[in-house]
């Protein structure tokens, strides 16, 4: 839990949102944290996305390193995000195996321009050793980090990035969990998603849009009139 006191929380309930505290949590500096100057539309939008969807909660990597989800993993980066759990025997292995091919297709961009993250849905089962073992099983390369954390924090991220069903009963059934891959460019506020079971070539294409904004769509052939 963040270093917040009950007193501070009660002060929030006194209906005065603390812009400074928010900005500090959001990791945004400068104008947004100064109450006297107006944040720009763009700054407000980025802040809103962070606050609603990208919680800055502590996680552990497959190497046991403690990281903050927003500050360390997502902020100022192009990323892909998906959920799995080690003992999942239906969709997860398919998606993970797909992502192995995706990582290969994206090549040297992974770990330098694009950061891949897989988060466990069952942190109570998947400790650091379990996710490390799972990662090794698939021979994931550097630049692709597997993550676990406190169950409530993992749930916060899952809901934050919209991997939920409208029906609460289905939403609780982890065998039906959302198999999408969320891709995004955090500072540019570009976010999309594609199915984790789509063809790896198209998943890779979709993720690479986040760092190739000047290039035409895949339907455009290189030779005119082709």
């Amino acid at each position: 839990m963040a270093d917040l006191t009950r007193r501070k929380l009660l002060s929030w309930t006194a209906l005065t949102p603390l812009a400074g505290a928010t900005a500090a949590v959001a990791g945004t500096k400068g104008k947004a944290s100064v109450q006297s100057s107006q944040p720009t539309v763009s700054e407000l939008a980025r802040q809103r996305i962070q606050q609603l969807h990208l919680p800055n909660v502590p996680l552990f990597t497959h190497e046991g390193k403690r990281v903050m989800f927003y500050d360390d993993l997502v902020k100022n980066k192009a990323v892909s995000l998906n959920f799995f759990f080690a003992k999942c025997d239906e969709i997860c292995p398919l998606v993970t195996a797909n992502l192995v091919k995706v990582q290969k297709l994206l090549g040297a961009d992974v770990g330098t321009k694009i950061f891949m993250y897989s988060l466990t849905l069952k942190p109570e089962e998947d400790d650091v050793a379990a996710i490390r073992h799972y990662r090794e099983m698939f021979h994931a390369k550097p630049g692709w980090t597997f993550l676990t954390g406190k169950p409530s924090d993992m749930e916060l991220i899952r809901k934050g990035i919209g991997f939920t069903y409208p029906d609460p009963a289905i939403d609780k059934d982890k065998t039906q969990h959302i198999g999408n891959v969320r891709y995004g460019n955090e500072p540019l506020m570009l976010w999309g998603a594609c199915p984790g079971m789509a063809k790896p070539s198209f998943v890779a294409e979709s993720i690479s849009w986040m760092i190739h904004l000047d290039r035409p769509g895949p339907g455009i052939k290189s030779e005119p009139g082709a």
Binding site: V25, S152, G179, M189, C194
Partner: protein
């Protein structure tokens, strides 16, 4: 007046608390303090689950019964309607309805259009123009009608009520300034045209993005019988600084196949629209403003009330209406889009032609309205409501349906209401002559609480169980009826106000009550070459068609490889097919759109269609829960690639789309 998300009146103080609560909630989320256990530990939550603070934190009105944990982060929890703070409530009917001007023509384009894409000049196009290769005298490479438009970012007011700040959105600029919806094309059969469509959106940087939108575009002309290179294929998007010459032949289906040389008059199109179709980002880009109308005329549907069918004259008494529902941040007032929603997005602010709940001064005579649902996910059922605020009950008044998906039906049908889903259009005639001096409203009385579609479905209209929904436990007033009462919730659903002047005027237009005949429906008796099945499903939250997902192939710019376009199936040029669309997604309704050719609905669950909207020519068909719909197609004239997709654009953007192509020799894949 202030309202909560249920449309109930709340005090100004309570509204302020709700806005603050939303802020507080975000801060709690940001701090990772949203679990009940955490809050309980902090002494902020009672054993009964209520927050201890006297006010704030809960965005819902106090004392509200029913489910909904309002400390939930993330996307709107769709079965918990209380989870979304309400947009600032602007005063309705203070802005005149914007009427989009006609797109300005240009006398020439520099450099001149070329048969093959002019890559050196910055053009991005998938292939050479097809039409000039079929007949270069009818379809010259540089036709007589030329347009040049620029897609730009601009700032505008969506209500003149200053509670809502100016909004930075995207639109189309024909030289008269950017606007959204874009300017309206007035096109004619027999007059081919080129639109040089520039992407002049700001290349994305950290400082100019307003929180959503992808500045790469491909503009689809929805419903057009167009060659694929001009269709605006989702995979053919282009970045800022580039352009595409889109060659619109404006020619009837069959011109080069079944009905040479002019095509089948019964395939005439009338109300088309253009919108961005960038794969995975269509919902964001159309929501941000990249939409507009394209009205196509011929020597019967002339736009002149003294010739042809004598429909009301365009554009004075023939008015396109683009409906959209949007959400604004309750604190900043900025337009927001839920980037992380997989199901469908509903707004609580209704715009017509870019303004929130505007008014239109009309004369006491007949008008033609071309009504378009621009989405992203809402279905509408429009009624013509009168006597608001007068003695007695509101009145519901009849009007005339003359077109479905913008295409004239054989004869006008008198209706009490019309229902449209995302991307669908209806053309209607409203006769205001008996309402001189009165005020009327277009009211959306369809009950829809989430992206699933209207719930519960009206079993009178559709033969299915009407009561099951994923959110069946919502209950409460307004959540159980398919059609809400007139003037429900203090008139929250009155979207467009008509102020009818008291002075009688001459009206030369045809009276629909005389039962004029427009076109005949094309025959559907031909034997299909193949019957294909398309199952619309959801697999682990991934929207799919026949268990597969959208795939553009792999681009040429990424890893240095060749483009590997993959097509799911091949339709034979100039052949007849039947397609069976099956809905396996339980309670969801999918408005399914197919490019290139219109279709006719042969059956719904093996019964002939009964509702008027199902009996015309369509390019979007609503696929209701547990339905199987049988469609008839003739694929004519053009070659190339086209999509089939769900036009709930949130589903479309999450892979409920497939690319197929038309080739001289089709394949025999039954379940593509």
């Amino acid at each position: 007046m202030y309202y909560n998300v249920y449309g109930e009146k709340v005090s100004k103080r309570r509204f302020k608390e709700m806005c603050d609560a939303a802020k507080n909630r975000r801060e709690l989320i940001a701090a990772g303090l949203t679990s009940r256990r955490d809050l309980f530990k902090m002494g902020l939550l009672t054993a009964g689950g209520m927050l201890v603070a006297k006010s704030g934190l809960s965005a819902r009105a106090q004392g509200q019964s029913g489910g909904g944990n309002n400390t939930s982060p993330g996307t709107q929890q769709l079965c918990q309607v209380g989870n979304q703070a309400q947009s600032p409530q602007t005063k309705p009917f203070i802005d005149p309805l914007p009427i989009m001007p006609l797109t300005r023509r240009v006398s020439s384009l520099s450099p001149a259009p070329t048969l093959n894409p002019n890559v050196g000049a910055g053009e991005v196009r998938a292939a050479a123009f097809q039409a000039p290769q079929i007949d270069s005298s009818r379809f010259p490479i540089v036709p007589g009608t030329l347009y040049e438009v620029f897609q730009r970012q601009f700032t505008t007011r969506q209500s003149s009520d200053t509670i809502l700040p100016p909004q930075t959105i995207w639109g189309f600029d024909d030289g008269s300034g950017p606007r959204s919806p874009g300017p309206t094309y007035r096109a004619f059969y027999g007059r081919p045209q080129i639109v040089r469509n520039h992407n002049a959106l700001p290349a994305t940087t950290q400082v100019n993005n307003t929180g959503f939108g992808m500045p790469q575009v491909t503009t689809h002309l929805h419903n057009a019988h167009n060659p694929s290179e001009a269709d605006g294929n989702p995979c053919d998007f282009y970045p800022s600084g580039k352009f595409c010459d889109q060659y619109y032949p404006n020619v009837l289906a069959g011109f080069n196949s079944t009905n040479t040389p002019d095509g089948d008059i019964n395939e005439s199109l009338a109300t088309l629209w253009y919108h961005d179709h960038r794969v995975d980002f269509t919902s964001q880009n159309t929501y941000k403003g990249l939409v507009g109308f394209y009205c196509l005329f011929n020597n019967l549907d002339t736009g002149d009330d003294e010739s042809g069918f004598r429909l009301p004259d365009f554009p004075q008494h023939d008015i396109p209406l683009a409906f959209a529902d949007k959400v604004y941040d309750p604190t900043s007032g900025q337009l927001v889009f839920d980037l992380f929603n997989l199901d469908g997005i509903l707004g609580d602010s209704f715009l017509v032609n870019g303004k929130i709940r505007p008014f239109l001064n009309v004369e006491p005579r007949r008008y033609r309205f071309r009504m378009l649902d621009t989405g992203p996910s809402r279905f509408y059922e429009f009624f013509l409501t009168g006597n608001i605020g007068g003695a007695g009950n509101p009145t519901t008044n009849s009007f005339w349906l003359i077109g479905t998906d913008g295409n004239l039906i054989p004869n006008p049908i008198q209706v009490q209401s019309v229902r449209i889903g995302p991307a669908e259009r209806v053309d209607v005639i409203i006769d205001f002559s008996k309402f001189a001096g009165k005020t009327l409203y277009l009211e959306n009385r369809l009950n829809q609480i989430n992206g699933q579609g209207p719930v519960p479905l009206d079993s009178q209209l559709f033969p299915q169980n009407g009561t099951q929904t994923e959110c069946a436990n919502l209950g409460g007033p307004g959540n159980t009826d398919a059609i809400l009462p007139a003037n429900f919730n203090n008139g929250q659903n009155l979207i467009l106000q008509f102020r009818v002047s008291g002075t009688a005027v001459t009206d030369n237009s045809v009276d629909p009550a005389t039962n004029p005949t427009f076109y005949q429906l094309p025959s559907t008796h031909a034997d299909p070459r193949i019957v294909r099945t398309f199952k619309f499903d959801r697999l682990n939250g991934q929207w799919s068609i026949n268990g597969q997902f959208m795939d553009c192939g792999y681009g040429n710019g990424g890893r240095g490889g060749e483009s590997t376009e993959t097509f799911r199936f091949a339709v034979q040029q100039n052949s007849v097919e039947q397609w069976l669309l099956t809905n396996l997604t339980g309670d969801w309704t999918h408005p399914v759109h197919i490019h290139l050719e219109e279709h006719q609905i042969l059956s719904r669950n093996r019964s002939a269609p009964t509702v008027p909207a199902d009996q015309g020519r369509k390019d979007v068909t609503q696929l209701h829960p547990n339905e199987r719909v049988q469609l008839f197609f003739r694929f004519r004239d053009w070659l190339g690639k086209y999509p089939i997709h769900c036009h709930n654009v949130v589903h479309e953007d999450h892979a409920m789309m497939a690319i197929w192509h038309v080739v001289p020799q089709g394949d025999n894949i039954l379940v593509p």
